[in-house]
């Protein structure tokens, strides 16, 4: 290809090439799918690539897991950083594909702040979704965030977002558990009201969910579905070589 001519001419030639060779981006390519129960929280019904989502409140860990279950099940890889206490069984129950889950151990943070930031940015390069408990300096957060937008990954922050600026903040208040009595029953499911707010949302969005539902996954709350219907599917706990259980007194 000829390269002479003024900058202007070259630009014009290049701009003619753009429609021919420019990448086509469909709206659905920019959004990672979420579980149907969580779709009402997002105007695009999914997680926009390049965005930062904060999960705050008492149930942030559960909500973060439910949030990334959709992309994970759809084939995205998930990296977890700074969350050593992640419950893997719960993650698998909520729908996360464990074969595409990788965690960086917390000891790696002892290397110092700069190498630590390099680790996260390497993860942003290769993973679609990163779950992070953040405590980094503001400069590093900015750098990571711009990298995130370039690469099109989604960052889910558990707890205090620190210096990151969240596109969407999900407020995860404490929910109400069903199934546990006084010395009887067991934890069956929890009703949570989640609210999303942020600069991309003109008004607060709310959704009423069972998280975890009776099977551990996330389910929308359907009016009128009481616990009675569940009692048939509640398995009993088999005691292991149980010597007999009774409540004294």
């Amino acid at each position: 290809m000829k390269r002479d001519g003024s900058l202007h001419e070259r630009r014009e030639r290049l701009s003619k090439l753009v429609p021919k060779i420019g990448p086509v981006t469909f709206a659905r390519d920019r959004v990672l799918p979420v579980e149907p129960a969580l779709e009402p929280l997002f105007p695009e019904a999914g997680l926009i690539r390049g965005s930062v989502i904060g999960c705050q409140g008492a149930t942030a860990m559960s909500v973060a897991l439910a949030l990334v279950a959709g992309p994970s099940a759809a084939g995205s890889w998930l990296a977890v950083v700074g969350v050593p206490s992640l419950g893997l069984r719960a993650a698998s129950e909520v729908g996360i594909a464990l074969e595409r889950l990788v965690m960086v151990a917390d000891q790696a943070r002892d290397l110092g702040e700069e190498p630590w930031a390099n680790v996260i940015s390497a993860l942003i390069d290769g993973f679609d979704v990163i779950v992070l408990r953040a405590d980094v300096r503001a400069g590093i957060a900015r750098r990571l965030q711009s990298r995130l937008q370039n690469r099109g990954a989604v960052l889910v922050l558990v707890g205090d977002p620190g210096p990151f600026s969240c596109d969407v903040v999900i407020n995860c208040r404490q929910g109400e558990w069903e199934g546990l009595g006084h010395g009887s029953g067991r934890l069956v499911r929890r009703r949570l009201v989640l609210s999303a707010s942020g600069r991309r949302l003109p008004r607060e969005r709310r959704v009423d969910v069972w998280l975890p539902g009776a099977s551990g996954s996330i389910e929308p709350v359907v009016a009128g579905a009481g616990l009675d219907e569940l009692s048939t599917m509640t398995p009993t706990i088999e005691p292991d070589r149980a010597p007999g259980i009774a409540l004294a007194g």
Partner: protein, 545 residues
């Protein structure tokens, strides 16, 4: 011998330069030090000293360490291999401008021009060996194979032969196969059909099948009628037959790319850093891949050109017989530019132009991107990111889940370090790693499971209504109804609901690992649901729902 249906008139005379253990050379290991580069837990390259002790390609880490306990393990780093190879490529470029790189450690170029210039193929082969040895900074003589022959396959086999001999005689004599189909066949005939896999890139299944049918040599395969081979083994068998008999070794469906097909970017502000260039290359590669895919084609040979504001250029041809995916293209651009930017002479200016031009394309028969159970782009990116992170923090710090089984929430799955497993679908071990036993674990609490499983359980006390600590006796009887819980000595919170005890008596046959405990679920007035255990009369909070 079968009918002579294939001529070699159109087969170019090629030189293949091969350094089979390039990865250890690039890592800077000395030949007399036992060292090996491992990828996905298997040896991909080793030093001569390691080879002497019996370390082989494809060996697992444990086996390699058993045969050679003092073996130094070097992490696999394709970026390092590519970067270091750039110097070798540059040294040969002085002699032959248009050479193509298949992978770091493997070069191909036409023999005709340089051979005439240097006074014969043998002299040229020695000269190439000299140039490459001089370009390797470690100043050791490495195993290097130089093969000259008709077509890529023959030259490749000759290079492998030369490499083996160079290791034995510690010189770098080229192996030259005389031109013509007769000489080519005579050279190939006694060789094992395994070369079809090692050099020709054919599947291991086909080679295995040929062995089981008693066809052990290329000559034996070539002696069969071509039509019968096609009927029995299909297209890949026919291809194997063709290359075994010295015929055209380009994969079927290969063609020269249309001349107007290229993607490029110019930069108004010269770019001096590698990362923005690689990022641009990624966009270009995706554009190119999409353009070709729209016509059902894939690029097998690609010219990558970068030019600085002062006219310095770096242009290489990259070759991959089954076609370059977008990821593969980006990787090659990174290798080329990284080595170029870091070259000792350095660049005087920033890069203003980056161009990818397909040189040869072939119809995409799907041998690259599979459907089910094969790696997708996302898998490739992630696996690569994992190896980069492992390089930054050490493999022990990068963890993946593995199923273990057990009755406590933290026991069902455990984290294992990534160096012990193979990632991504198609590696087989994923199923093995994560498949739960068919039968449920007796005594496991049913779903839902706690989202947070504490690494270190928190000591707690559970009080009855009278303020006495609740005890659980050996028969699972409680001394009082739980009323409040205090975690780590903090102010007690009221318990709103609870259930248990679910006793657990694990490994009673093993005095060392025997555990006897009782599990409870509690919710507090703050709405938190927890899993508590009592072991040896001490309460612990082990998980939060």
């Amino acid at each position: 011998m079968g009918r002579d249906t294939t001529g070699t008139a159109d087969l170019p005379r090629l030189v293949v330069v091969q350094c089979p253990d390039w990865s250890v050379v690039a890592a800077g290991a000395a030949p007399d030090e036992p060292a090996a580069v491992l990828h996905a837990n298997r040896v991909v390259a080793r030093t001569p000293a390691a080879a002497v002790t019996g370390v082989r390609h494809g060996q697992r880490r444990r086996e390699a360490q058993r045969t050679c306990p003092e073996l130094r393990i070097i992490a696999h780093d394709p970026a390092r291999d590519g970067r270091e190879f750039e110097a070798a490529v540059r040294s040969v470029t002085e002699m032959v401008p248009r050479l193509e790189i298949t992978q770091p450690g493997l070069l191909t170029f036409p023999a005709k021009g340089p051979a005439r210039y240097f006074g014969g193929e043998h002299a040229m082969g020695l000269r190439v060996a000299e140039l490459i040895t001089a370009s390797i900074t470690t100043a050791h003589t490495w195993m290097l194979g130089i093969g000259i022959g008709d077509g890529r396959f023959t030259a490749g086999v000759a290079a492998a032969d030369s490499a083996v001999h160079s290791a034995r005689r510690s010189d770098q004599q080229p192996t030259i196969v005389d031109p013509g189909v007769r000489a080519t066949r005579a050279f190939l005939a006694p060789l094992s059909v395994g070369t079809l896999r090692d050099v020709g890139g054919l599947s291991a299944e086909l080679v295995d099948l040929l062995h089981r049918l008693g066809l052990h040599t290329l000559g034996g395969l070539a002696a069969l009628p071509a039509t019968d081979v096609l009927a029995r083994f299909g297209a890949s068998g026919a291809f194997a037959h063709r290359i075994a008999s010295g015929g055209d070794d380009r994969p079927p469906g290969t063609a020269t790319a249309p001349p107007d097909l290229l993607v490029m970017r110019t930069f108004d502000d010269p770019v001096r850093m590698l990362d923005p260039l690689v990022f641009t290359a990624k966009q270009l590669a995706e554009e190119l891949h999409a353009l070709l895919a729209a016509n059902g084609r894939v690029c097998t040979r690609l010219a990558v050109l970068a030019e600085t504001e002062h006219g310095e250029r770096s242009e290489h041809l990259w070759y991959k017989p089954h076609g370059l995916s977008a990821t593969a293209i980006v990787e090659r651009v990174r290798w080329q530019l990284d080595g170029w930017i870091r070259s000792p002479a350095g660049l005087t200016g920033g890069v203003v132009l980056l161009r990818l031009t397909p040189d040869e394309v072939r119809s995409d028969d799907g041998s690259q991107l599979g459907f089910w159970g094969e790696r997708t782009e996302a898998d490739e990116w992630a696996v690569r990111a994992v190896s980069r992170v492992a390089g930054l923090v050490g493999e022990q710090q990068v963890l993946v889940p593995a199923w273990r089984g057990g009755r406590l929430p933290g026991d069902t799955y455990q984290w294992v370090s990534v160096d012990r497993v193979e990632l991504g679908p198609g590696s087989g071990s994923v199923d093995e790693r994560l498949s739960a036993a068919d039968v449920p674990w007796q005594g496991q609490l049913p779903a839902p499971s706690p989202a947070t499983v504490l690494d270190e359980p928190l000591p707690a006390e559970v009080y009855g209504a009278t303020g006495d600590v609740v005890r659980v006796n050996g028969r699972g009887l409680l001394s009082a109804v739980p009323d409040s819980v205090s975690i780590q000595g903090k102010q007690p919170t009221a318990i709103t609901a609870w259930a248990g005890p679910w006793p657990l008596d694990e490994r009673w046959w093993d005095p060392e690992r025997h555990r006897r405990l009782a599990r409870f679920q509690l919710t507090t007035e703050r709405g938190t649901a927890m899993l508590a255990v009592v072991e040896n009369q001490q309460w612990w909070i082990t998980a939060v729902y």
